[in-house]
Chain length 242, copies 2
């Protein structure tokens, strides 16, 4: 990688971690994807700095101190460490449970869902396109680097996803779902897929045919729960039941 | 209010709703706080437009079509309706349950928590200062206007809040809490307060003395849940139990 690193663009085959926390997660979990590390002269946490230097030395990863470069990559970011990594894709594990996001449109929601799913033990995320760019640094940041502990894979359509994972119990979340989430009583030992639609338009009700349509009851003071909130309550609930 | 409306500033005694959805919630729930409505010439949803015009006519609220003003108030917002409203404060109901946010620092989290709490029937939010400005339009927007259905009040310290609501069962969420949330078994008919700390630093463990310290179990793949996620799971759980 030359010196001509720029502000993030989804067309590039690399992306960035902004800040020490996600950069450490990158180094710990996806070291083979790391291209280089850039640090600021203002970076003063010696413990973290020592860790990053020792890992980079051991793995022969370039590390440079360059304030201009930091500002160029992340002008308003006020961050002192940036990791540069090659984008990658991994296959989902068919024997484990998944979260499936159909056409998500908000960086923060996707990152937060990834962070939450790691915490509740779901290690596979399917993204059904069209979708926001999952390697945008805003996703990485709101995942707090948890994305590096996940298998994340994109699919052209829900049907394409389904064909590969028809061994799963599918739970499709929609406002007019048939089953309230408290009524879901999983005796099955099959892995499950929790499927959520777009922030504004929800999940196409045609997808009902693929499995159980589910809703989370709330009063009519709001039209719907935020996507990341609905996904979190569902993952929490499923992690309790299974 | 003159023509010299500007970009939002927390020092002003008025704030804005950006977009039709929160503006309608403002008109429906806090009509007496509305100063005026500004619409764009590109605003094409006739049904919504008719509703806004009829409410404003009935209540003698000024409404103007002014694209320059819209762009001045919200330059990058790409929105077609703005509501201008006086900031207000309301007392919390001591016989109802509350959510208490101690030193929140993220606009989106606070707005999302307000939206979620309305959905799960909690109508009172206490904000312990220092805090982000709860009338910032970003909070209004991520609440989807649900903030206009809430009583929101600021307090100088948790102790000041506690003195007014010592009739409540207090549940203080902290990573090293004593009680797992699934173990909370509320037989009490007292109203409750769900108390959450700052995004980065959490809740000061000294606050334990005020009530029950509680945690939500997750694995060690993440350091903590996002604040809005933790609050949502707690509200969901408490709305099931009580």
């Amino acid at each position: 990688m030359g010196n001509n690193i720029k502000k993030y663009n989804k067309k590039y085959d690399y992306s960035y971690t902004f800040g020490a926390f996600p950069t450490i997660e990158l180094l710990k979990n996806k070291i083979n994807q790391v291209i280089e590390i850039v640090i600021s002269s203002k970076f003063s946490n010696d413990e973290v700095k020592d860790y990053i230097f020792s890992v980079c030395e051991e793995k022969n990863i370039r590390i440079r101190e360059n304030d201009n470069l930091i500002n160029k990559i992340n002008p308003k970011g006020n961050c002192f460490v940036i990791g540069v990594f090659r984008k990658y894709e991994e296959n989902l594990n068919m024997n484990e449970s998944h979260v499936v996001l159909v056409n998500p449109s908000d960086f923060g929601n996707v990152g937060t869902i990834i962070r939450t799913s790691v915490g509740f033990g779901i290690k596979n995320i399917a993204i059904i396109e069209p979708s926001i760019d999952i390697y945008n640094p805003k996703v990485i940041r709101s995942s707090m680097g948890a994305i590096f502990k996940q298998n994340v894979k994109r699919f052209k359509s829900f049907h394409e996803y389904y064909k590969s994972f028809s061994n799963h119990d599918m739970f499709l979340f929609m406002l007019d779902g048939t089953l309230e989430i408290e009524e879901v009583d999983r005796k099955s030992e099959k892995p499950y897929s929790l499927v959520f639609g777009n922030e504004a338009s929800g999940l196409d009700s045609k997808l009902r045919e693929y499995g159980n349509s589910v809703f989370i009851s709330h009063n009519n003071g709001i039209d719907s729960l935020n996507l990341a909130i609905a996904a979190a309550i569902s993952m929490y609930k499923f992690s309790q039941n299974t």
